[in-house]
């Protein structure tokens, strides 16, 4: 609270921001609340056992009781996601650049990349554990194989969508391939690349959890698995809740990244 008197115009502007926020946030929040209430009511009315479906209040209790353990696990998982995400984006971009810059290598690489995309990569998790042990490495590896593809593909699509006559213009002044790549193709691909990066952010969360399922001694995935063997379903749900929060947080982080990287999008033109 401020002790400065609030002017009328600031007040009304605040009010209009509030009402705009309320208009977009109110419906989903209302629905979520309704679901939680209905869930709580259903569990009580039908007296469903808490190790089958715990009531929201049970989940909340578990969340509070295990707060320190859960936060520690969240940090571990968040670290894996962040690290894996960054590696995926870097590798994804590098592969796209190699495919576009070097004809022969590109023609060799592209079918392999597509072929590899059809491997059910979740099934690689046990192999990665076998190779790299229980630490960070197998999780990063798994996130990488799951998340680099949308990055590569979206960047390639962005570069391919450059108008042919723009390339003719560049050729008409004798631009080199490297100049065309870095002055035209790469910046042109950024909006599309950022869309792929947002998908990679979501897939990184999945990669980290699957990696922890396959073999870990820490992290939210480990807690989910451990708690389910103990039939502590409330703790499973509490951990799931935190995984979801992580997913949303990473998605919005990617969206903020997009606004920084693609500032020429019309809606940010006054930046």
């Amino acid at each position: 609270m401020t002790d400065q008197p609030v002017t009328y115009s600031a007040d009304s502007r605040l009010a209009s921001i509030w009402s705009a926020a309320a208009a977009s946030w109110l419906p989903p929040i209302t629905l979520i609340l309704a679901i939680v209430v209905a869930w709580e009511a259903a569990v009580r009315i039908f007296s469903i056992s808490s190790f089958i479906i715990p009531a929201p209040t049970e989940v909340a209790k578990s969340l509070v009781a295990q707060w320190d353990t859960l936060m520690q696990a969240t940090l571990v998982t968040a670290g894996e996601i962040l690290f894996g995400f960054v590696v995926s984006v870097v590798v994804g971009i590098a592969i796209a650049l190699i495919i576009v810059r070097f004809d022969w290598l590109g023609r060799a690489l592209y079918p392999l990349v597509v072929l590899f995309q059809n491997v059910p990569k979740v099934a690689l998790a046990p192999i990665f554990i076998l190779w790299f042990g229980y630490g960070l490495a197998p999780k990063i590896g798994l996130i990488l194989v799951i998340a680099f593809f949308p990055v590569t593909l979206s960047m390639l699509a962005g570069m391919k969508s450059v108008d042919h006559s723009l390339l003719l213009l560049m050729n008409s002044v004798g631009a080199s391939r490297t100049q065309i790549l870095f002055r035209i193709l790469v910046p042109h691909s950024l909006p599309s690349l950022m869309a792929g990066t947002k998908i990679a952010a979501t897939l990184s969360v999945i990669g980290a959890i699957v990696g922890e399922f396959a073999g870990a001694s820490d992290g939210l995935g480990y807690i989910i698995q451990f708690a389910s063997t103990q039939l502590d379903t409330a703790l499973v749900f509490a951990a799931l809740l935190l995984v979801s929060v992580l997913g949303v947080a990473f998605y919005y982080a990617a969206e903020i990244l997009e606004r920084i990287v693609v500032p020429w999008r019309p809606k940010f033109n006054d930046a």
């Binding site: 006559s165 003719l168 213009l169 050729n171 002044v173 004798g174 100049q179 020429w264």
Partner: protein
């Protein structure tokens, strides 16, 4: 404005019969289709030449041949005594397409100097900006230099594209339906601006157009292309004095020439036999 003075001087010293561009027996086969057949063309220094013909007859291909972007299957092109590729390498060719193709992440000045920055790597950023600004002023966009493409109208974007080509100080401006995507009113005023730019800079202009009125309004020579295969079927001079403004369209002489051109164009729509 030094380049303008320079260009004007060049225009004045150029003898009207000086051919800047000549094409001798140019044929182009793409795939296994004969796109252009035996094109002979001579374009005088400082002239404004229009190429007109039905869609798909090979106008764009011909322009690319002149720009050194497509190598003719047979025949040759010379621009001021050089091959088209060599002329392109020496920045003698300015290109403008139907789509302005501005870079959305650069403002108007940076877009206007973008090709120059690649063609001449020795220029400093300040020099590039100064040149870009000068060119924007030439096309009537001097006060829009900090605007981004999405803040400009279609006509303004195309003006930036013309500025970008002129920034190279090319010997010839090759334009492929540059006003094809614009509405009729913008189109008229763009044509008028192009005439003024032509007269101020003395550049040679080759314009591909679909519009009979545009060809008659702007150019002093028109070549009509026929289809399948693409070849020059007719050529005509437009005998109307410059400077021309939009009211030239009401001139009975304009109407006569436009009617004549329409007739030539209609004849060119019939596919011709190979010779």
């Amino acid at each position: 404005m030094s380049h303008l003075a320079h260009a004007n001087a060049r225009k004045q010293t150029a003898v009207q019969t000086d051919e800047l561009i000549t094409a001798n027996g140019v044929s182009v086969v793409l795939g296994n289709q004969l796109i252009l057949q035996n094109i002979d063309l001579s374009i005088p220094q400082g002239s404004f030449v229009s190429l007109i013909g039905p869609s798909g007859c090979g106008k764009s291909t011909l322009l690319k041949v002149l720009a050194g972007l497509v190598t003719p299957t047979s025949g040759s092109v010379s621009i001021a005594g050089l091959s088209a590729t060599e002329a392109a390498r020496r920045r003698m060719i300015g290109l403008v397409f139907q789509d302005a193709n501005l870079l959305p992440w650069k403002n108007a000045v940076d877009n206007a100097s973008m090709l120059l920055s690649i063609a001449n790597r020795s220029l400093s950023r300040a020099e590039l900006q100064a040149r870009g600004q000068e060119m924007l002023e030439l096309v009537g966009l001097g006060d829009a230099s900090n605007k981004y493409p999405h803040e400009l109208s279609g006509g303004m974007r195309q003006r930036v594209a013309i500025a970008r080509a002129l920034a190279l100080d090319p010997a010839v401006l090759l334009m492929d339906e540059p006003f094809g995507a614009l509405d009729a009113i913008t189109r008229d005023s763009m044509g008028q601006s192009l005439l003024e730019i032509w007269q101020r800079t003395g550049k040679t202009i080759v314009l591909v157009t679909h519009s009979i009125d545009e060809a008659v309004h702007l150019s002093n020579h028109v070549h009509v292309l026929g289809i399948r295969p693409g070849r020059i079927t007719e050529s005509m001079d437009i005998d109307l004095p410059y400077p021309r403004d939009l009211s030239v369209a009401e001139d009975p002489e304009f109407v006569k020439q436009a009617v004549h051109l329409r007739m030539l164009l209609r004849a060119s729509h019939q596919p011709g036999g190979a010779s």
